[in-house]
Amino acid sequence: MSAGALVSGLSVRKIRSRWVWLILAAAWLALYLAFHGTSTLPLSASSTTSVQNNLNSFNNNISNGRNSNPVFLYGVNYVQVGMTHFVSFLQSLISQPGFGRPAPLIGWLGVIAIVGFVSWLTAGWKYAVLGVVGFYILGLQGLWQESMDTLALTIAAVLIAVVIGVPLGIWIGLHDRAQHIVLPVLGFLQTMPSFVYLAPLTLLFLIGNASATIATLIFAIPPVIRLTDHGIRAVAEPTIEASDSLGSTTWQKLVKVLLPMSRRTIVLGINQTMMAALSMVTIAALISAPGLGQVVIDALQTLDVGTAFNGGLAIVVMAIVLDRTTSAVGERSQQVGGRHLLGPQARRLAFGAGAVVTLWAVVESAMYVWANTFPSSPTIGPAIVAGASNASNWVQSTFSGITVGLRNDVTIAFLNPLQSMLTNAPFWLVILGLCAIAMIIGNARVAIVTLISLLLIVGTGVWQDAMQTLAMTIVATVLTLIIGIAVGVWMGRNRQVDRFIRPILDAFQVMPAFVYLVPFLALFGASRFTAIIAAMAFAIPVVVKVVADGIHGVPAPAIEAATAAGSSTWQLITRVQLPLATRSLALAANQGLIYVLSMVVVGGMVGAGALGYDVYSGFVQAPLFGKGLAAGLAIVLLGVVLDHISQSAANRIDPSRH
């Protein structure tokens, strides 16, 4: 289909459905005017419903059975002990005293050498340099030991995630029915705010590394499962058939065809799991996970933005090294028979030399203090701390006048009307409206999913809070899309810009939100708008990337043709590039929604109230556990609704599906 035909096809459909929209909107408004203020299902901050109380006593029963229940005695407790030992073992290797020594077995020199050598072997010399420099910076920041604690925990979580996730991914990749069961569970794990299960986890697996690892695992394991599944399913059918036709057994097919051919995707999954694990570092610190998260949380107590930033920056540096290196490994496993700079003989020699140096560094770092404990000078830590806090102070004092005005405008013009409409309308009217939207954009199935999810939210007892959160989510997503698309288009059209902006986006995605909350609070006060801004800071990077990739992927002939016809830049963007990248825009909207939603709890800490506050309350106050869990479920359910509606919008636009 030609581009023109596609675009005009879309607009025909648009015109036809415009009437439907108008009529439905009018009907909805009429009902709203007639019934607003009734059946709004309010619930005050400290009250709970019976469902929530039941959730509470369920939690109590579990915790009371800790030492008598066989599930604990023979299952959970062993898992706890095993995990604890595993993590302690890794810690004694690189971060903590152990093996009867007052210092870790491998000191900084050894770790850096290993990082360099392994990256060289698996990813190439550029990545070796990146790894060495990156890790050395961690030391210079004065955060060597904390970084190694974080690394140990991340490695533990990622290894376990791989051991569980890859086989599970293979299994669901081969069995449709298993996939239908597992995928929704993964979605659930990813959207359920971790604050909900943090406290119960410490009851099950005790305070410490086991709980921290499991909390990280829960959040981080979905990508490796999803992508393994995806990789297995993406292996070309003819190849599998060819292997079958030659009489391969299932096992042979798996190890000789499916796994090698999906290796790149699986590595990508491991990469994403690793990033997710790193993003849990600060939250896991709340249940005593050691490392960089602790630095950030401690600094937050005294609102020490500089120190928090230093800690956050270390997380970013580590993330960049791990991300780039594992991505490169993935890329590399794709290109077979690539060219090498050196001949095989020279290469063997070089690797031999590398091995010698690495081994020397490891042994040296095990034996001598200078190579074991990172020297306290030179250091860049204090400079970073001072720089960040000065920058933060400057921003706070310079912009706070403007920012409050901005907050008020957006709140009054958009947020308040939307919120009061959603919270004042009877719950059934809201459900009706959303189901109608789901029906029009998607189909009956989407509408039914929407209906069930919303009814379940009613059941959780936090309907009004859910509506407040929904209003904030919508406003945040719209703002995110406006900015994200603008920047994304800019980036997509200009590779130079892309190269410059992309690392900043990456940094924002891994920088713990706690680091920038204080400046945001200073600029916007404790308010819903601050929560919206925090969510935007987290969601914009992903939207920008998706849009940029979409714009970049617009076929060159279409652009050439339009340019040849004399289009202006603006016409080129609005008439050709954006329409042809609609699929990416829809995907960006979907991702934007999900990312915004994942910041709801953080929003609850800066004045957003609603579901985020409920979840956080459940974490800090035992009697509110049930309510927190209910609010967590409501977040998941909102996620399901928004995800389904936005996905079906994306599919509707996508000409290749129906």
Binding site: P238, A242, S243, S245, G247, V257, P260, G337
Partner: protein
Amino acid sequence: MSGSMTPPTARLAPDGRAGDLEAPDDEGLLRVRDLWKVFGKRAAEIQGSQDLRALSRRELIDQTGCTAAVRDVSFDVAVGEVFVIMGLSGSGKSTLVRCLTRLIEPTGGSIEFDQSDLLQVDHKQLREVRRRQVSMVFQQFGLLPHRSVVSNVAYGLEIRGAGKAERVARAHEMIELVGLSGYENSFPHQLSGGMQQRVGLARALAVDPKMMLFDEPFSALDPLIRRDMQAEVIRLHHEMGKTMVFVTHDLSEALKLGDRILIMRDGEAIQLGTGDELVGAPADDYVRDFVRDVPRQDVLTLRWLAQPAKPGEDLGGLALSQHTLVRDAIRPVLESSSRVRVMDKDRLVGLVGREEILAILTSDQK
């Protein structure tokens, strides 16, 4: 088309089944009977119900949501024969050829290969058949992108547990056979489509199968390379004499390669016969449509044109075998003063004159 031709042996029996099932000689390697493949949740139910089986494919989809991709197909393939399956897209060719080694599990019927019923054997035995007896070449090549050419070719041997030295030696032999020497250590993505399919061919040959299956192996290739590859298959068939079942939707390919051709439509076998039988006596309009563009002088033999002698006609003219292609008979017939005798060995089949030849030539012109 003129209906004046006298169709010889191959014809559809009145009940709609292909009449001439038997292979030319009795050494049938493959014997397929009443084969059915129904896709969909209710496949088993359909297999058991005469009423449902009697429905057309369209009706069946409407009523049950199931697709009958192969319906009641029977045929034999002889040792050394090249058996071609033809039909429009969606007619069930791929499904049928995959059913032969149960890459797709048939829903009913029987497949007797080398005296054993493949539908009865267990998975282990089936695997042995796939490893040693029957191999396949695919339209999309199905090469392993992460392995070199040698290792791709040796894959079948590797899977059945052959030692490394043995399989590498055999792989090199096969690579040489398909003319890829020098590319042993290349990777698939470094080769052109035609070369990749040579690798696919070598891989299928490497296991030294009794029978080879081809599913439109050359339709992803451009016409010139396709012609090379067809020549290659003909050469290999001459050299090694393998039995082949060859799926294509290209009639000229079918005619070039096939000893016999099975025409399918909507899962059913419509007609089975040699090339000249299909062209000379199409069973119905579907087949007729199929063969419409074939230059008939290149396919038909004189026996299709032979007319009974008129009373008192001169029978002293030139004699030609009934298997002579029309193409080759044009000049002698046109130059001959009387009608030419068409002979089956010593028996007179009939006479062919200018009129008949010119009729063929003019119809080819259109």
